[in-house]
């Protein structure tokens, strides 16, 4: 067990966001966390990544390093792409030569050209920026990567490419991942296991294994799973935004 959240609950200004969440990540496992918007998915991720302290419950960690890929690229505008990708290594105290080497290798893995590495984020396209953000996370050789709706802002084609990149990297580098998304088909595509968080300060609604391994499921299979689950009572909230807001 790499990471375990035990009985975690949190509230903002006295308003409970969620209660009593138990969630664990095994070595090499990609878990997708899905839920309607505003249900606290990002808060769960931030607690897991140690960015905020939970008010109740505790988090157990059994790994060396983690990395976070945020919804926005969050690159430092005053650093070149190379220095941005090497940022995590710099924080860890790696020597400049080694971290530049690692940055170039990881950049190639996510499909960034060598000549783009001397550019500033403002000179890169949105897709390239998000690739750089993924490379920055991979560069620290993490044991766990936290993805916070990382590909919401990119177009459909690029989204697939980036998802494949993550699936590939997870297999190659053997890291575990918590992948927060609001898109059921994205979750089914990248994850081994799916966890559903309820809206309205509930806890976890469902915890299911997804058939097959990520990267081997065909589009038809993914569509079939999504279609079947969307009829499911436990997933109804995800597709029920319209009705809920009326009542």
């Amino acid at each position: 067990m790499k990471l375990a959240l035990e009985g975690v609950g949190h509230s903002f200004l006295g308003r409970a966001v969620f209660e009593n969440i138990d969630l664990s990540l095994r070595a090499g496992e990609v878990v997708a966390l899905i839920g309607p918007s505003g249900c606290g998915k990002t808060t769960v991720l931030q607690i897991a990544a140690g960015l905020i302290e939970p008010l109740r419950g505790r988090v157990r960690r059994a790994y060396r390093r983690h990395a976070v890929v945020f919804q926005e690229p969050r690159l430092l505008p005053w650093m070149t792409a190379r220095d941005n990708i090497a940022y995590g290594l710099r924080a860890a105290g790696t020597a400049r030569g080694l971290r530049n080497e690692a940055a170039e290798r990881r950049a190639a893995e996510v499909g960034l050209h060598l000549r783009d590495l001397d550019k500033y984020p403002a000179e890169l396209s949105g897709g390239m920026r998000q690739r750089a953000a993924v490379a920055r996370a991979l560069a620290v050789d993490p044991d766990i990567v936290f993805f916070d709706e990382p590909f919401t802002a990119v177009d459909v084609g690029l989204k697939r490419v980036l998802q494949d990149l993550v699936i590939e990297a997870a297999v190659r580098d053997q890291f575990s991942a918590l992948f927060v998304t609001h898109d059921l088909s994205e979750a089914v595509r990248v994850a081994h296991r799916l966890v559903v968080l309820a809206g309205g300060s509930g806890g976890l609604l469902a915890d299911r294994l997804i058939e097959g391994r990520p990267g081997t499921r065909s589009d038809r299979e993914i569509f079939g799973i999504v279609e079947a689950w969307s009829q499911d009572a436990e997933f109804r909230e995800l597709f029920d935004g319209a009705r809920e807001s009326v009542s």
Partner: protein, 272 residues
């Protein structure tokens, strides 16, 4: 290869920077033309012509007394600038991080801002007498609020999302300050610093003139007493030249070097 491209980039940048001086020179010549027109209207006694002034200037820069006075004024304004920038920026940055400190310091700064510099000169005269100290103190007090405001705004508007990113990689407080807050802060500090540099020259000369403590201000007082108007104009031009040199030779190139990333983000056609 890399060293060569870097050198080429530097040469290109400095050539562009020097070339941009032509536009500045054009602006200054427009001003000189207006000055000449004023001279022809009012005559030499009220407004000496630019040429006369430059001739006087070329004479007085060879006088040892002027060189000594210019050195004194330069030292005083530099000391005042450094102290104002140092204290102001540090206090502003602290206030940006801590809201309690901000609530405590803001009214103090407002009070300092509200007292006219001329009143500070009177106080400084009583405290320091007729020495350089009164000029330095007046500069510090008059210029400190600008740096304070710059430091405060810069730190208070830092990008907290980037800060969270840096924390997620385990970056310590010092590294986060250097890599996340400081580059952002710089863009707030430079306008404050250039204003402070200009203010420092002006206020030093004013304090020197009023406290009779030598320097270019003292020279101005003497020239005024003798009704030597070309000399007065020459001294004014000298101070303006000093202020221009401080801004365009010392501060702007530094800013350009530090903020290269900002230029990279500008679309084609806006690059200057």
């Amino acid at each position: 290869m890399k060293a060569l491209t870097q050198r080429l980039a530097f040469i290109g940048w400095s050539a562009r920077y020097v070339w941009s001086a032509w536009a500045g020179a054009a602006g200054l010549f427009c001003l000189a033309a207006a000055w000449q027109a004023g001279h022809e209207f009012y005559g030499s006694f009220i407004l000496p012509s630019p040429l006369e002034t430059l001739q006087t200037l070329s004479v007085i820069i060879h006088e040892p007394a002027f060189v000594q006075a210019a050195k004194e004024t330069a030292e005083r304004s530099l000391a005042g600038f450094l102290l104002a920038v140092g204290f102001g920026t540090t206090a502003g940055a602290i206030a940006g991080y801590s809201f309690a400190a901000m609530r405590l310091m803001r009214p103090i700064v407002t009070v300092i801002l509200g007292v006219p510099p001329i009143a500070w000169i009177v106080l400084a005269l009583i405290w320091f007498g007729s020495t350089g100290g009164s000029a330095v103190m007046t500069v510090v007090v008059a210029a400190l609020p600008i740096s304070f405001a710059g430091g405060l705004e810069g730190v208070a508007t830092r990008d907290r999302a980037l800060d969270a990113m840096a924390r997620s990689f385990g970056a310590g407080g010092w590294m986060r300050f250097r890599t996340v807050t400081l580059p952002h802060l710089i863009s707030y500090l430079f306008p404050a610093w250039t204003t402070t540099a200009g203010t420092a020259w002006k206020i030093t000369v004013m304090a020197e003139l009023l406290s009779n403590s030598g320097g270019i201000g003292g020279e101005l007082a003497t020239a005024r007493a003798l009704f030597d108007i070309p000399r007065v104009m020459a001294l004014i031009v000298a101070v303006v030249v000093f202020a221009l040199v401080t801004e365009y030779v010392l501060l702007q190139p530094l800013r350009d070097r530090l903020e290269r990333w900002r230029e990279a983000g500008l679309p084609w056609g806006i690059k200057r």
